[in-house]
């Protein structure tokens, strides 16, 4: 269930190359306050495994993506195997399995937004960010643009998400202003 076929073309979205980011050693995330926070979350559930999604969020918030080393650390913290964690990570679209741009932009192009012109918003975003195509990161490392399936804000077409922030009612014309406000 990772980023699937794009709506604008028939082709599958090319994933950035893997295997090039594994050289750097993983710096543990669950230490100090973060470990305390994980323990607090663990107390909410009868099993340790139930804290897997929250733990992966903590990892991604700290490191920007979910690396092999990060997966091993999460697995060890929760007493499950790295292979199992990887299976879960790959099921959900929001965990990045490779580094992404500093501003990760998700554009909704599902039907309700599509009939309001979402594909033109995608074009404008690709043009103004310099990403070239969906799923790719701009050369300066600032942006990655992906399509997302229904953001649940259909009355505010077209919504986009920039990292954790929602921007509603985006038009092809408003894209450059929105981007200029980002670092």
């Amino acid at each position: 269930m990772s980023h699937g076929p794009s709506a604008s073309g028939g082709a599958l979205v090319a994933a950035p190359p893997h295997g090039t980011h594994h050289d750097k050693p993983h710096v543990p995330v669950f230490v100090g306050d973060t470990r305390v926070e994980l323990d607090r979350i663990l107390s909410r559930y009868p099993t340790k495994q139930a804290a897997l999604l929250p733990a992966l969020w903590m990892l991604q918030d700290a490191r920007g993506w979910v690396s092999e080393g990060g997966i091993e650390e999460v697995a060890a913290a929760l007493g499950i195997t790295p292979a199992y964690v990887k299976g879960v990570v790959s099921f959900y679209t929001m965990y990045h399995q490779h580094p992404v741009g500093r501003h990760f932009i998700q554009v909704c192009t599902t039907t309700p937004c599509n009939v309001c012109g979402a594909e033109d918003v995608v074009k404008s975003l690709l043009e103004h960010t310099g990403c070239g195509d969906l799923g790719f990161t701009s050369a300066d490392g600032r942006f990655t643009v992906v399509e997302v399936e229904c953001l649940g804000a259909c009355g505010f077409a077209t919504p986009i998400m920039i990292n954790n922030d929602f921007v509603e009612s985006v038009t092809p014309e408003s894209v450059s202003r929105i981007l200029s406000e980002l670092k």
Partner: protein
């Protein structure tokens, strides 16, 4: 109210009364509006009695299936086992964005409903599962839960009742299928969000293998009003001639419409008045061509059918569709229905969890064929193939995602067949598209 628009006089704002009012978000603000009175009262009431009131009120699930809420609760008995309540806040049905506004504007209303329902089903612990993309609703809910704990509304002695009620907010990570109740439970347990085979039903073996009730956000947010005002009060909303559809319902309206937003009306409202009067009708100079009235998984209506429909569970069924989640998607005369149906099937292909063959293969193949027709590469026999695949993937899988993909194709072919045929007639080429049928779309 028609948030973000001012309330329309023909609306019945109960749940949406405080949308747009930032004071209602705070604990003090919510209490000043009568919040938590129902919970305080309920915590000192026998759960059986609460189940009876909700059963008598006629409230049905607002997430899509419309199962009677009181009956669902009545499956939970005082058997001494650990019980769980799940609040389904994984709102992802295209066209639906009502739970989002409930959580953004009245988070304490949901906390109250969740805590009340937990007590009513003999559960000590409740989880609110919010889709990963809903960052603001998640933050609002976390804050409301923290405030409620700090004020002693939640915790070991909830509102001084001696009852222990815990409510936790759990964030998903991007997967439409996790709105399916058993997929949600798997996801909450830290697994891939694959739906489970039923039986056993959640009331027997649900979250962590324990008896579990799962309700939608809107359903749970409604409960405190019913407990506070009584079942008879709630029954005043609805058509007098249809006792099966009671209460008010939030309808999210989007697409090619003048005033998109959330509108709350009493069930039984005429759909024509809703579309043209409340929502302002089509955009200037345009005409409505088609409407999907209950989220993308229900059959498409033509304009004529929509204008004759009645907005309740039975009314929409009589028009050949369903109330679903109340997500109304409007298409105007500019829209190419083949293109838009193809986009919908792509959604389902992307969101299939891929455990059932019919769904994994069916959603992907339908998408390939739909897009081929969209791009002027279709043939006449493609239409028969679409019907064959749609039939082959309906009613045969663990959950209904597969059926949901077939629905717009079948209803689209029935009602807008001329648009499919026009595209195929325009295809003069001999179709050879190497590799086009191989790759799986999901």
């Amino acid at each position: 109210m028609g948030y973000p628009h001012p309330s329309h006089p023909r609306e019945t704002p109960i749940l949406s009364k405080y949308f747009g009012d930032p004071e209602a978000r705070t604990l003090a603000g919510w209490r000043a509006r009568g919040g938590y009175e129902a919970l305080e009262n309920a915590l000192n009431t026998d759960p059986q009695e609460l189940q009876t009131v909700v059963k008598d009120s006629g409230l049905r699930g607002r997430g899509g299936a419309g199962f009677p809420t009181g009956m669902k609760w009545s499956f939970m008995k005082p058997d001494g086992k650990t019980h769980y309540l799940c609040c389904n806040a994984d709102e992802s049905e295209p066209g639906t964005f009502k739970d989002r506004e409930i959580m953004r504007w009245t988070p304490h209303g949901l906390v109250e409903g969740v805590a009340l329902a937990a007590h009513a089903i003999y559960a000590q612990t409740a989880y609110i599962y919010i889709r990963g993309e809903f960052t603001e609703p998640y933050a609002r809910m976390c804050q409301a839960v923290d405030e409620a704990y700090a004020a002693g509304i939640l915790g070991p002695n909830a509102m001084g009742s001696g009852k222990h009620v815990d409510v936790h907010v759990h964030r998903g990570a991007g997967a439409y299928i996790c709105g399916e109740e058993t997929a949600l439970m798997n996801s909450l347990e830290g697994r891939r969000g694959n739906p489970r085979i039923k039986p056993p039903f959640p009331a027997v073996a649900g979250l962590f293998g324990k008896p579990t009730t799962i309700n939608n956000v809107e359903t749970l947010a409604t409960v405190p009003y019913i407990i506070k005002n009584g079942a008879e009060w709630y029954k005043q909303y609805g058509r007098p001639d249809n006792p099966k559809s009671i209460g008010t319902k939030l309808f999210s309206v989007c697409g090619n419409i003048s005033r998109p937003g959330n509108y709350e009306v009493a069930l039984g409202f005429p759909f024509k008045d809703f579309l043209y009067d409340l929502c302002g009708g089509p955009l200037a100079g345009r005409e409505i061509k088609a409407v999907i009235p209950g989220g993308s998984s229900v059959p498409i209506l033509t304009r004529e059918e929509a204008e004759g429909a009645i907005m309740d569970y039975e009314g929409f069924v009589a028009s050949g569709t369903m109330l679903g989640s109340g997500g109304v998607i409007v298409f105007d005369d500019r829209q190419d229905m083949v293109r838009q149906i193809a986009r919908l099937t792509r959604f389902y292909a992307h969101e299939s969890c891929a455990q059932c063959t019919q769904c994994r293969e069916g959603t992907a193949w339908i998408t390939r064929i739909m897009e081929r027709i969209r791009d002027g590469q279709g043939t006449a026999e493609d239409l028969d193939t679409l019907v064959a695949i749609s039939e082959g993937m309906s009613g045969k899988t663990i959950c209904v995602l597969s059926d949901s993909c077939a629905t717009p194709v079948m209803s689209g072919l029935k009602k807008f067949r001329h648009e499919f045929e026009a595209k195929i007639a325009a295809n003069k080429s001999v179709v050879t598209v190497p590799g086009a049928f191989r790759a799986s779309a999901a």
